[in-house]
Symmetry: C2
Subunit: 221 residues, 2 copies
Amino acid sequence: MNRIAPTALYQEVAERLRQRIFAHELTPGTWIDEQKLAEQYGISRTPLREALKVLASEGLVELKPRRGCYVTEISRQDLDDIFPLMAMLEARCAVEAVRHARPVDVRDLEGIHERLEAAARDGRIDAFFEANQEFHRRIQELSGNRWLLSVIQDLRKVLKLSRLHSLSLEGRLQQSLDEHRAIMAAFAAGNAEGAERLMHDHLLSGRDALARIQDVGGKAA
Amino acid sequence: MNRIAPTALYQEVAERLRQRIFAHELTPGTWIDEQKLAEQYGISRTPLREALKVLASEGLVELKPRRGCYVTEISRQDLDDIFPLMAMLEARCAVEAVRHARPVDVRDLEGIHERLEAAARDGRIDAFFEANQEFHRRIQELSGNRWLLSVIQDLRKVLKLSRLHSLSLEGRLQQSLDEHRAIMAAFAAGNAEGAERLMHDHLLSGRDALARIQDVGGKAA
DNA sequence: CTACATAATACGTTATCCATAATTACGGAA
DNA sequence: TTCCGTAATTATGGATAACGTATTATGTAG
């Protein structure tokens, strides 16, 4: 007998705020007005404040004592710090995932990747983002290390603060697909070290694309 | 004009609970009685609940909806997952730290390590633990990557849930010192790759010691 | 125009109450 | 006696009102 929604209100609020932050509706630096937001959501300050505590621990907002809550601003330096870290972590995932993957897991992964290709073909950006996330996430799950997964997911949330991140992915859709295919091939061949290197480079080439956008855009932090 | 203590009550409470958890006064699995604890601390439930939200995000407690708050139980599998991860992360710190370290930083590190040796010589276990933490932390700071530091510190908090962790360190005090000295030597020589490998092995040998304790103790999860 | 005093704002906290879900205690039927 | 369903109990999650206080904004005097 599975409980349908054992989710508390503060969790729902946290999730709604997360989505608004990721959608850049709440842009970095914005002040979050507790009472206004509580009124907007039709709830009291209590669960809202608890939700903000959660988001603060995730690094999505900053709680300045007696001064309120602000959406975290992420600097170029932060991106430069996080990407190599993610590359290392996801590469580690890939090694472990290849070692643990059963044939059915590889087929499953291929299924996700077909959805990814279809979304790219039809230009459905949102679907592409989602499938891309699931592709990476599935590999992380296959690694069998829940702490590795947890660390990566935490960092990914922070990355999503930057809208440059999604823009860069959008600009190198085809290249990203090619890199994924190479990773899939390594999985099919049971080539752990290959998958490790490919995943590592896949992440770093994401950072390179991002750096190019920054150079063009020019508004570096 | 520096504000002296811009720290809110819920933060203090969170810190006090953290210490009690790390001291194993609140052992894994224990139920945390909100009202009793609030009464004990002479505060209302509100800041206490906010503190629990923070600890939950850190993984120190688990909030089961409608069922209360419990100190996280960490399994042997978790330790097996976390240690290799920590080894990888701290090794990465070591590389970067050696590359960034100025002579004054190396001397600073040597100073910390002297305190570590002194504490070990005098059998002051608590001082040893503290200096050991500072040694590792300083290296993490020298890496110049605040996200790398943040991830490691988060995982370290989880590790401290296990009392086996501290026990194992206690049981191989001398070996730990030797490994530290080798790391120091790599720093002095500017040998980044050496420091990386040594730090990696240093962490893994910690896990090995822990595994031996578990085998003897026998009460595996 | 600066400096200081004052007012407005909103954060952090207390206290109390309530609805609801979980747990326990209880009591009757097989 | 054992099992199962119901009632009572308990604690969590949330709402609400209120208050002290630190921060910010405003206004006034020098």
